[in-house]
């Protein structure tokens, strides 16, 4: 009977027009209950019941009818609890290499702003759960950015678009892909007749060769059609600058490992760059002072960036003055003997003795000394002329070929993004563009404000938008198409250096989305080709090699030797001098507003990710918000308090944002991150921050000069993870006193003279009062964190969150001080508040051998393992929170609520099945990724071999771009962690209270100019 009823459910399901889930079935219940098909089914399944359905005459029969129907409908409704029936198939044969429950790793790539990052994705029983860097990929080298790591959460986001949407005459309909393919074919025919006139494609930047081929095919078919590429955050200025001095569109590749002196001009090469992960790796490797030498970094910047924080000399300078500083640098370099092109090196905008001039003298002196080992790098927000001068300076130093190399920029004829979108907007306004297909992106929200793109888009008669979310742009388009996530579609992409990766899916599209290539294929008349077919075709036609090469590409995640060729361009005679001349006349201007891509939500595309929203901003530690950052002096001058909402006005456009005081920011500068204040960004993004795009025009895409800042008197509580309230002077003074012993540092010279400088830097030495317990485990796990390498990017925090099922608690809870991160990155300011040094310290559980938390737990829920791990037994925890009180590092996290009640069914798929999901009332903390330790031990045991050093890597260490975190076994004296624990720079924090931390820090080394450490103040 049961089986028959279930069969009936199946029949009902197929009758309901292919609805995938039971929910839809219920919605059409009434309609269905009366349909002939339903009656037939009832007749077949319940003979004798059909009569009652025909004539429910008496109460008694109606009741019995209802009873039976209730049972069968209830069972039919159960389809809502399962995935589509037709896709569940048992394995007749187990696929090769697949063992249920054992994770599989697949190589693929994720693209951001037209540059691919090679990643390895861990998949458990068909569910991708964790993104790691691909060690073979040149842009990753094994590390993954927070954005890449958050891709799994995005994949499972229940608010992603699930259906096609067609809007006509105020109606919202839900068509099928077949409807769309038919529509596309119809369109293609119509367009072909007029040669594509009036048709445009607006695409986000992509490096996909398949998309490029389809674009070619499309433009071949429709010669009058237009292809427009737009990214709100782009590096077009750099491209234009290089074109000014070299005559062609070039792409620069930086080689920090070759550099001895780096001058970063408003440039965050360590975080805000497509190759930031590689830069960070090279930086981290070079800064450990092992060979007695390390590169020196000069940074001049308006806002405080990670690169500025890592620098040896930092100059806070309004962004509009960076060009002038570069000229000063050139002049000083010329004075120091560097032969500059004509017209450069003649102007010194800053008078001698000013901090700017001193900075330039020192930096130029160092550059002149190291010549081709020097590097001048300029940030993407700076105008093309600054890039041009910097390129000429690098050329003059002889750095081209060592610290910087060039390749021909892909798609060299492309119009700059801002110009292209402006032209498109104009053509929409005058009606020359009648049909617009938008592949990805969100231009209605993030196009320059003066274009009024949204209104023009809404007026366009035929618009199609392919997007992961039904966002601000989708709402204005006639068609919305759900996009397949990168983790669920086939494709290809190239890294910043050109290395090709094949994008392979980890899972069937959860919501039936399609990739941009598939949508284009539908338009160019190849609708039958799947993304896989298209990708293979591109691969075969461009790289050949057949099946073996394809499999190799899938397995490695890269295709070897596909990087763009390095070119040796020649400097155009006077171009650099002319660019310098244009710079020189640029006047200094009033208060600046800098609109920068956010460290977490980027340009807004990641705004619906709880992990990224809750990741503290590296500098401000702000979560769930953006804020108008102000230098302390400016805040004082404007009489603005931290958290007070200010109105920022420029050219008649204004935005209101809460103020956030950031020491080290240049005076006269307001910073505001893009990407917040989404209107249609989803429930996670809702209410997070303010939208900065309304003040962002093409001319002020990065920098607006002469803005006005007014107080509004309103306040907004900012959820920061440090300084939950504005700190008083007493606390500030004490913090200043303590930083020195928490983060020990010395210059390279001091270190060479006193290698043991980091030892014994505490106020007292503890001596044990009793015989201490000896741990007898086979392994003794430990960690070492090199503060010289750490740049504070927070990738470890996200990696840990993804690996260990750490909940997102939301803005209010963070404001209360209840964030759950197991590894946090502490940020300290040291030195003069107007020109502070920034120091970062990742802080996981220290796994103290003498752990204060363990002795105070009344139920023994936190205990020490024989292998030296401080273990937390969730099942045993009753939640007295005494352990947290007694933890001197405050790394324990308490589940104040049940943090998983509101997690959607799809999001639950992102959970790591190896890690317990904690309920409420339970304490939790870093475990050193015990699930990975046990998996590694098991693997070694099965293979009857000892564990190898480096075989077990916790999530934080695995993803750390600079390799600052090292984990291993202290019992093995040759292990890396043993070596680091013996290192002269190693120290434990709060050693004086005798906690005996198993996590040691390696003191920070700096390399300031001059005879450092002998009175030479680092800037």
């Amino acid at each position: 009977m049961n089986a028959r009823v279930r069969l009936a459910a199946g029949v009902t399901h197929s009758n309901a027009g292919g609805s995938r889930v039971g929910r839809r079935y219920w919605r059409s219940l009434e309609e269905l209950a009366d349909s002939p098909a339903f009656r037939t089914m009832v007749e077949q399944e319940f003979p004798g019941l059909a009569e009652e359905l025909e004539a429910p005459a008496t109460a008694a029969t109606r009741r019995s009818f209802l009873k039976v129907m209730a049972a069968s409908l209830a069972l039919a409704g159960l389809t809502s609890c399962r995935w589509p029936k037709e896709r569940i198939m048992p394995f007749a044969y187990r696929p090769e290499g697949y063992v249920p429950g054992v994770p599989q790793i697949f190589a693929t790539a994720l693209e951001l702003g037209g540059a691919a990052l090679g990643v390895l994705v861990k998949s458990v029983d068909g569910r991708p759960i964790k993104v790691e860097g691909n060690p073979l990929h040149p842009a990753s080298l094994g590390a993954a950015s927070p954005w890449a790591q958050a891709a799994v959460l995005e994949l499972y986001d229940p608010e992603r678009s699930t259906t096609l949407v067609r809007r006509e005459g105020g109606q919202r309909r839900v068509p099928t892909w077949d409807d769309f393919v038919a529509f596309a074919a119809e369109q293609a025919t119509a367009l072909r007749q007029r040669g594509g006139r009036g048709f445009a494609v607006l695409a986000e930047a992509t490096s996909s060769p398949t998309v490029a081929m389809l674009r070619h095919a499309l433009l071949g078919m429709l010669p009058a059609a237009r292809w427009v590429e737009y990214e709100p955050v782009s590096r077009d200025a750099e491209r234009a600058g290089l074109a000014q001095v070299y005559g062609t569109s070039l792409r620069a590749l930086l080689h920090l490992d070759q550099a001895r002196v780096i001058v970063a001009m408003d440039s965050d090469v360590l975080y805000g760059h497509p190759e930031a992960l590689r830069h960070a790796r090279e930086w981290g490797a070079a800064r450990r002072g092992d060979g007695g030498a390390m590169p020196r970094l000069y940074a001049a910047e308006a806002l405080l960036s990670l690169t500025g924080s890592a620098s040896d000399h930092r100059l806070a300078l309004p962004a509009g003055r960076i060009g002038a500083l570069l000229l000063q640098l050139a002049a000083e370099a010329a004075r120091a003997g560097v032969l500059l092109p004509a017209g450069l090196g003649t102007v010194s905008p800053f008078t001698a003795g000013t901090p700017e001039a001193d900075f330039a003298v020192r930096a130029a002196g160092d550059l002149a000394q190291v010549r081709e080992r020097g590097l001048v790098v300029v940030g993407p927000g700076q105008p093309a002329e600054v890039h041009a001068v910097a390129a000429a300076l690098n050329e003059a130093l002889g750095s081209r070929g060592t610290t910087v190399t060039y390749t021909i920029a892909p798609d060299p004829e492309r119009r700059p993004h801002l110009e292209a979108v402006a032209e498109l907007s104009a053509s929409l306004a005058d009606g020359t563009t009648e049909a617009l297909w938008i592949l990805g992106g969100n231009p209605a929200w993030d196009a320059p404000a003066e274009l009024e793109f949204a209104q023009r888009l809404a007026a366009c008669p035929q618009t199609v938008h392919l997007s992961l979310y039904e966002n601000e742009t989708s709402r204005l388009c006639r068609w919305h198409l759900p996009r397949a996530h990168a983790l669920e579609s086939w494709g290809d992409a190239r890294a910043w250096d050109g290395t090709l990766s094949v994008v392979q899916p980890l899972i069937e599209p959860l919501y039936g989305g399609r990739s941009p290539a598939e949508v284009l294929a539908a338009l160019v008349g190849e609708p039958a080709l799947s993304a896989y077919d298209l990708t293979r075709r591109t691969f075969a036609s461009q790289w050949g090699g057949g099946e073996d090469a394809w499999r190799r590409a899938l397995s490695d995640g890269i295709v070897a030797n596909t990087a763009y060729a390095t070119v040796t361009p020649r400097l155009l005679g006077d171009a650099a001098g002319e660019a310098g001349g244009r710079l020189a006349v640029r006047p200094a201007s009033g208060r600046e507003l800098i609109l920068y891509p956010d460290a977490k939500v980027f340009d807004g595309r990641f705004a619906n990710s709880g992990w990224l929203q809750e990741l503290p901003d590296p500098i401000t530690t702000l979560t769930w918000d953006n804020a108008a950052t102000l230098a302390p002096e400016d805040a004082q001058e404007l009489r603005v308090k931290h958290g007070e909402v200010v109105r920022i006005t420029h050219g008649g456009r204004s935005v209101e944002a809460p103020a956030c005081v950031v020491p080290g920011q240049a005076r006269g500068v307001v910073g505001l991150a893009l990407g917040y204040g989404r209107e249609a960004g989803g429930s996670v993004a809702a209410g997070a921050g303010v939208d900065a795009y309304p003040v962002r025009t093409a001319a002020t895409a990065y920098l607006a000069s002469g803005v006005e800042v007014q107080r509004t008197g309103r306040r907004r509580l900012l959820a920061t993870t440090q300084e939950h309230h504005v700190i008083d002077t007493l606390g500030m003074a004490e913090r200043g006193r303590r930083v020195g012993s928490l983060i020990r540092e010395a210059s390279l010279n001091e270190f060479q003279r006193h290698p043991e400088f980091a030892k014994n830097a505490t106020w007292s030495q503890a001596r044990p009062l009793w015989q201490e317990i000896e741990l007898k485990g086979e392994h003794q796990w430990a960690m070492a964190i090199d503060l010289s390498a750490c740049i504070g990017c927070g990738a470890c925090t996200i990696a840990c969150q993804a690996e260990n099922n750490i909940p997102v608690v939301g803005r209010k809870q963070v404001a209360r001080g209840r964030e759950m991160h197991w590894i946090r990155v502490d940020r300290y300011f040291a030195g003069d508040p107007s020109d502070p040094q920034v120091r970062f310290q990742p802080m996981p559980c220290q796994h103290c051998e003498n752990a204060p938390c363990e002795s105070v737990c009344p139920v023994a829920a936190t205990v020490h393992s024989e292998e030296g791990l401080n273990q937390m037994v969730y099942n045993r925890c009753v939640g007295t929170r005494y352990c947290s009180n007694n933890c001197p590092y405050k790394v324990r996290r308490f589940n104040f609520f049940n943090n998983f009640t509101k997690v959607a069914a799809t999001t639950r798929m992102a959970f790591n099945p190896e890690v317990t999901v904690r309920g409420r009332g339970v304490m939790e903390k870093c475990t050193f990724c015990i699930q990975r330790i046990e998996a590694g031990k098991t693997a070694a045991k099965n293979e009857r071999r000892p564990l190898r050093d480096g075989e077990i890597v916790p999530a934080c260490a695995q993803t750390c771009p600079t390799r600052a975190i090292v984990f291993g076994d202290l019992k093995d004296p040759s292990s890396e962690v043993s070596r680091l624990h013996r290192h002269p720079r190693s120290y434990g924090i709060l050693e004086e209270i005798d906690t005996k931390p198993r996590t040691l820090y390696l003191a920070k080394l700096t390399n300031p100019h001059g005879a450092a450490g002998e009175g030479e103040a680092s800037s």
């Binding site: 440090q722 300084e723 939950h724 309230h725 700190i727 008083d728 007493l730 606390g731 004490e734 913090r735 006193r737 303590r738 930083v739 928490l742 106020w763 007292s764 809870q813 209360r816 001080g817 209840r818 946090r824 502490d826 940020r827 300290y828 310290q841 802080m843 204060p852 002795s855 105070v856 737990c857 009344p858 139920v859 023994a860 045993r876 925890c877 009753v878 939640g879 007295t880 929170r881 005494y882 947290s884 009180n885 007694n886 001197p888 590092y889 405050k890 324990r892 996290r893 308490f894 589940n895 104040f896 609520f897 049940n898 409420r920 009332g921 339970v922 304490m923 924090i989 709060l990 209270i993």
Partner: protein
């Protein structure tokens, strides 16, 4: 007290004469009448009903808050990282402290033969019991998963797990539960003869049965008195160390941890002194109105008030000394964390709470050096309320300021209670007063049998005594040796 005629001022110390402990023309019968009458009124007074209605409603709020808490989780409170303990632990220590006066008065003063205790001991003991009930509630609800609380008990179980005997929280469980048990037994046992009096005077069936059961068949025989006095003495001896130990153990919750501001060897004596201080203040706060309302001025005389005020002065000075010596120790230890913690208490973001504490506990009670303040019920009432406030803030200062700024400045935070915290604290007063009002209504609020033994009619002045009630003065068989037996 203006009601008491001047010649009968029993607060004067005249050499050679004992000051009377009970004033007025009390004889044995009138004492019985005076005390029993309170519990025998046919219907409660309007004031009692009003007070009971209010406190029962506030108790309902408490239970609503507890339900809300258990349903949603600890997050409805203001606790966070780093301040993982908040109002719940503050209230716990506050109420446990209050629960000190009763047993101190009953047991320690009994052993020291302070006869003046007889008028107030019942009252103070009742307060102890109710305060400990309120105190016990808070640790029970403050854990994250209260349904697993029994894991703190050393019960044999299928998990083969003992609790962690190194944890002061576990010691707390033992200390507080032992203290509660012994205090309850002491209180109840001391009440048996008086309950029997109520039973004998009862006119309704229900009262006869209820008091009959409660009085355990007391008949007042010489053998009964003998057993009773032995048991009372033994319990007093048992309870005496508990008075000192329970708050010492509570202080271990803090002192055993390594947190600056908690990790201090001064804590046990400092906590005990503070507990007695707050306990006596609470006794006064309750006693002064009750004495007035129920016209017990002749039993609870100015001398009683004077004595209690002196104890408050003494313990308050000890507490004030501790506050100051903590600063000295912090400086003298050379420990920079410790030093900062105390500076931060006095000058940091929570300085307001520190100065409330210091003013209420260390400065205001110094007024009690003046006799006028010791003997005016109104002034005493005001001072005792200040002490109660101050002692609550003392626990707030200890718990919150230490936690909010510990070792790593990166994890410093700020604690703000929520409305649930506030209403739960308020609700605990509702529970306390509800129990207290029930006590006033149904039980003998003054230990009649004991008071009778100190009035002139008992023949205290008439040389070697005969009859019962003299257990405080004459320990049975104490003269056996002298008499060669």
């Amino acid at each position: 007290m203006s009601a008491v005629p001047l010649p009968l001022d029993n607060t004067l110390e005249a050499p050679g004469t004992r000051a009377p402990l009970v004033l007025g023309t009390s004889d044995l019968a009138s004492i019985t009448e005076q005390v029993c009458e309170i519990a025998e009124r046919p219907r409660p007074s309007r004031e009692w009903l009003l007070a009971f209605g209010i406190s029962a409603s506030v108790t309902a709020v408490l239970f609503a808050m507890v339900g809300y808490l258990v349903w949603h989780g600890i997050g409805v409170w203001g606790v966070n990282q780093p301040v993982a303990w908040g109002f719940a632990i503050i209230n716990f220590v506050f109420w446990v402290g209050i629960g000190h006066a009763g047993t101190l008065i009953s047991a320690i003063l009994f052993l020291f033969r302070q006869k003046w205790r007889t008028s107030i001991n019942r009252f103070a003991e009742a307060m102890t019991i109710f305060a400990v009930i309120c105190a016990g509630l808070f640790p029970a609800i403050h854990v994250g998963r209260p349904w697993f609380e029994y894991w703190l008990a050393p019960l044999p179980n299928q998990m083969q797990m003992w609790p962690n005997f190194r944890s002061p929280l576990l010691w707390d469980v033992f200390a507080v539960s032992t203290y509660f048990t012994v205090s309850l037994m002491f209180w109840y046992m001391g009440m048996v003869p008086d309950l029997a009096t109520l039973r004998d005077r009862a006119t309704s069936k229900i009262r006869q049965i209820a008091y009959g059961i409660a009085s355990l068949g007391w008949r007042g025989s010489g053998r009964h008195w003998h057993r009773y006095e032995r048991a009372y003495l033994l319990l007093a001896a048992l309870a005496t160390p508990l008075v000192l130990s329970v708050h010492s153990v509570v202080s271990f919750d803090f002192a055993v941890s390594q947190l600056p501001g908690w990790h201090a060897t001064i804590f046990p004596p400092y906590f005990v002194a503070g507990a007695i201080f707050s306990g006596f203040a609470m006794v006064l706060t309750l006693l002064l109105p009750v004495r007035r309302i129920f016209k017990l001025e002749s039993l609870i005389t100015p001398r009683h008030l004077d004595n209690m005020a002196k104890i408050i002065l003494a313990t308050g000075s000890m507490v004030g000394y501790s506050y100051i010596i903590e600063f000295f120790v912090a400086w003298y230890s050379g420990n920079p964390y410790e030093g900062f913690t105390f500076l931060n208490r006095a000058l940091g973001p929570y300085a307001w709470s520190y100065w409330i504490m210091f003013t209420c506990n260390a400065i205001i009670p110094q007024l009690l050096w003046f006799k006028r303040f010791r003997q005016s019920p109104w002034l005493l009432l005001v001072i005792s309320i200040f002490v109660n406030i101050g002692m609550w803030f003392e626990r707030f200062v200890i718990v919150v300021t230490s936690l909010s700024r510990d070792f790593l400045p990166s994890s410093w935070g700020y604690y703000m209670p929520t409305w649930v915290d506030a209403l739960t604290f308020l609700g605990s007063f509702g529970l306390f007063f509800t129990l207290f009002l029930l006590f006033l209504r149904y039980l003998p609020i003054v230990a009649m049998a004991e008071v009778k033994s100190v009035i002139p009619a008992a023949g205290l002045e008439l040389g070697p005594h005969h009859g019962h009630g003299q257990y405080w003065g004459e320990i049975p068989h104490q003269h056996d040796e002298q008499e060669g037996r």
